[in-house]
């Protein structure tokens, strides 16, 4: 199935892209996606951790992804 990946902050620089369509096995969890991403975009290891948002809401590792989900890579925030 396809999802859309969005990269923000330092993740944009490390992944080399802002937004990309991404293919992964159906019923993959966020935890599985994170492992995939660290392989495909190995520079993401340069940041200690990142959070994931699905359709504009923070989501934990056990959440199962759906076709067409918009999945954002959220490095440590630094607003304010």
């Amino acid at each position: 199935m396809k999802i859309q990946l969005l990269f923000f902050g330092i993740a944009t620089d490390l992944a080399g892209e802002n937004s990309v369509s991404y293919e992964l096995k159906s019923a993959a969890t966020i935890g599985e996606l994170k492992k995939d991403l660290l392989k495909k975009y190995s520079k993401l290891k340069n940041i200690e951790d990142f959070a994931i948002a699905v359709n504009e809401e923070y989501a934990e590792n056990d959440v199962v992804l759906q076709e067409n989900d918009v999945v954002a890579i959220i490095p440590p925030v630094s607003g304010g």
Partner: protein, 140 residues
């Protein structure tokens, strides 16, 4: 009546606008916090800060903070405004304003809002130094 004002903008933030939104005849006090761009960090001279956000999600997270503040504290209204784009030294990335009948609740809610914003709202700043740039908070 709308009790929250949530905004992300590339224009300059306006203190009086935030004050005017929260001010009300039923309130005895207004607490405000204004974040300003500091000229140094860890003893290194800063040239400017560049803020970017995941705006639709950031607006949702800011709204959650405002709604939670209204639920947790005896306050009347709250404004949370954040700027994006390049900000020079002394310019304003964030303003929070809270009105309440009694001042203690306004202070508590204002601190709660800025503390939580810095933890949860997907906005990032890049510090520009004379010799390069760094994404804040991103390095272990």
């Amino acid at each position: 009546m709308d009790l929250t004002s949530i905004k992300i903008t590339s224009e300059k933030l306006n203190l009086q606008d935030c004050y005017n939104f929260v001010q009300d005849a039923s309130c005895g006090g207004i607490a405000l916090f204004v974040g300003t761009v500091r000229n140094s960090t860890k003893n290194k001279k800063v040239i400017l800060l560049d803020f970017s956000g995941y705006e639709p999600m950031a607006l949702k997270e800011m709204q959650k903070i405002a709604d939670l503040a209204l639920a947790k504290f005896q306050i009347h209204k709250i404004a949370i405004h954040h700027a994006v784009g390049e900000l020079q030294i002394g310019e304003i990335p964030v303003i929070i304003a809270v009105s309440s009948k009694h001042r203690k609740a306004a202070f508590e809610a204002c601190q709660f809002a800025i503390d939580t914003l810095k933890e949860t709202v997907p906005i990032w700043k890049k510090e520009h130094f004379e010799d390069g740039e760094v994404w804040v908070n991103s390095h272990p």
